[in-house]
Amino acid sequence: MFTGFMVNTWIVATVVAIVAGVVGFFVVLRGSSFAAHAVPNAAFAGAAGANLIGASSVGGLLVFAIAGALGISFLSRRGSRDVATALAMVVMLALGALFLSFSNEYASETYSLLFGEVLGVSSSELLPTAVLAVVAVVAVVLFWRLLLLTSIDPELADARGVRTSRVELAFLVIMAVITSMSVPVVGALLIFSLMIGPPAAARSFAADPFVAVLLAVCLSLVTVWTAIAVSYLTTLPIGFFVGALGAAFYLAGRAHAGWSRKRVGASGAGASRVVAPLDDQGAVR
């Protein structure tokens, strides 16, 4: 389990989990889940295209993922963000289907691009992955406050001279970068669940954004490590475990949020009744 190709897998999966936790926190915060689904689909088309012409698959992933991000950003300036995202995704998926139809390793190739492959990481991919990870994390650190401010209210950020649409574009590109490094391991469909599940759970547990990001990274690591180990032992697909654990953490987060709200609600209502006996709205919160 810790020899040969598996070592590469452990390393890359760990790096992917860290970056997915950090970037995923903002995906959830900004309500960009749909884009986080669309960009990996674009990357999938890129990988298929790269395989077809015999180019580096990380290169293909990166080019197409960034093209998808730019497309979403460009189209959503003129209209609804959801529609723009859907359009970009559909175009990219169609391209992916086209590229795959020219390829002769259709089934296994598609399967590993979409759902990931435990033994899919070669030593030559370690360095590019590490570089992309550093780029993504540095970018998030650089844009930290701007990402927070623009997710509260775009108007509020605009009023302070922040170009909200540029921050959004930068964020989409960061998402494209992390997608490109993750697709070979966890697959185009499952990087999405890694970016949503652990961060969505983390935000239910922590109110402090810093703590929430750290927690998202931890949950993401636990998800990936567990998934690899169990997948290795059972030979069931790694993607199943990533998806299932992500969902489980999310449900735990919801349960925690519901439970603590009930607790706060009970004590809060009592307190406000004492302070303001005439205020019939005090208990509503």
Binding site: V141, L148, I152, A159, G161, V162, R203, D208, A212
Partner: protein, 308 residues
């Protein structure tokens, strides 16, 4: 122009100082419709001015102009006598409606800290000074006991306080509050008004605060700007809230009744009968539509129970 807006009762030296904010002959067209026409008024340092108008009158549009989020079709916006720079530190802003997810991992103190440096690159290093500034600001708006609560989970009045702290922490000279009293119960309304009056006085801050009803603002405002039909009328409440001025602004007869320190603005009976339909009209472009709405907004407050 300066003379006719000066408030002789406020005791502030409005006449001698230049305006902090001046709108000079502003015209705005949006999607082929004239929204504002030849709007001019000024705000002196430390003045609290109420911007009063019905839904769709153009209050938010005026804020967007001042913030530079919208360019006027004609006229100029001057801040401290200068054309407004793109990025303006001296203006703080609290938008009309902010809908925050109750589960958003962002505490009141994080939101206030973002007011300090949210537009900068990089991660803020935790420093004692920063923390003290934020704590001070939270205390100034009476938000200390929910400083560590998620902003999205706060009540409307509590959120409004935190937003005001967010806007004030960068020490602006002018604060823009767009309908801060909307959706607040009477008690929260009074608390927010008192808060505005206090910070304006303590910090020598000028405030432009919009509302559809003047009454809750009466204790704080030095002057008022009424918006209707794309035009404005500005001056002290004594000067502007009169039957003559408002009748001219709204374009039909309006009665102004002062009762127990409250001001009731009412349309003539004939018009108020048709205002129900007009209020619902979607296009609202006619002068009558806007007028009737304006009157309704003030008229409906007649059954409030507080005295101001």
């Amino acid at each position: 122009m300066r003379e006719d807006v000066a408030d002789p009762t406020s005791g502030r030296a409005v006449e001698s100082s230049p305006f902090l904010l001046e709108l000079d002959g502003i015209g705005v067209w949006l999607s082929g419709r004239e929204i504002l026409r030849d709007v001019r008024f000024g705000i002196g340092p430390g003045e609290v001015v109420g911007l009063i108008g019905a839904n769709g009158a153009g209050k938010t549009t005026i804020f967007r102009l001042v913030l530079g989020l919208l360019s006027p079709t004609s006229g100029r916006v001057l801040i401290e006598g200068q054309p407004r720079p793109r990025r303006n530190r001296s203006v703080g802003y609290v938008p009309q409606k902010i809908s925050l997810d109750p589960e958003m991992p962002l505490r009141s103190r994080d939101l206030v800290a973002l007011g300090l440096d949210g537009h900068r690159l990089g991660v803020p290093l935790p420093s004692r000074h920063r923390r003290e500034l934020v704590d001070e600001m939270l205390q100034a708006v009476g938000a200390t006991h929910f400083a560590d609560a998620r902003v999205g989970s706060l009540s409307g009045g509590e959120q409004q306080r935190v937003m005001i702290a967010h806007a004030l922490i960068s020490r602006p000279k002018l604060l823009l509050l767009d309908e801060p009293l909307a959706n607040l119960d009477l008690r929260s309304e009074q608390e927010v008004v008192e808060l505005v009056a206090r910070v304006a006085k303590d910090q020598g801050l000028a405030v432009l605060i919009s509302a559809h009803d003047l009454n809750p603002l009466l204790p704080v405002v030095d002057r008022v700007v009424y918006v209707a039909n794309g035009h404005v009328a500005s001056g002290t409440t004594g000067e502007v809230v009169t039957s003559e001025v408002l009748t001219k602004l709204y374009g039909h007869h309006v009665d102004v009744i002062r009762l127990h320190g409250r001001i009731l603005v009412a349309a003539s009976p004939g018009l108020s009968a048709e205002r129900g339909e007009l209020e619902d009209s979607i296009d609202g472009t006619t002068a009558d539509g806007t007028t009737a709405d304006g009157t309704t907004a003030d008229g409906t407050t007649a059954d409030r129970t507080t005295a101001v």
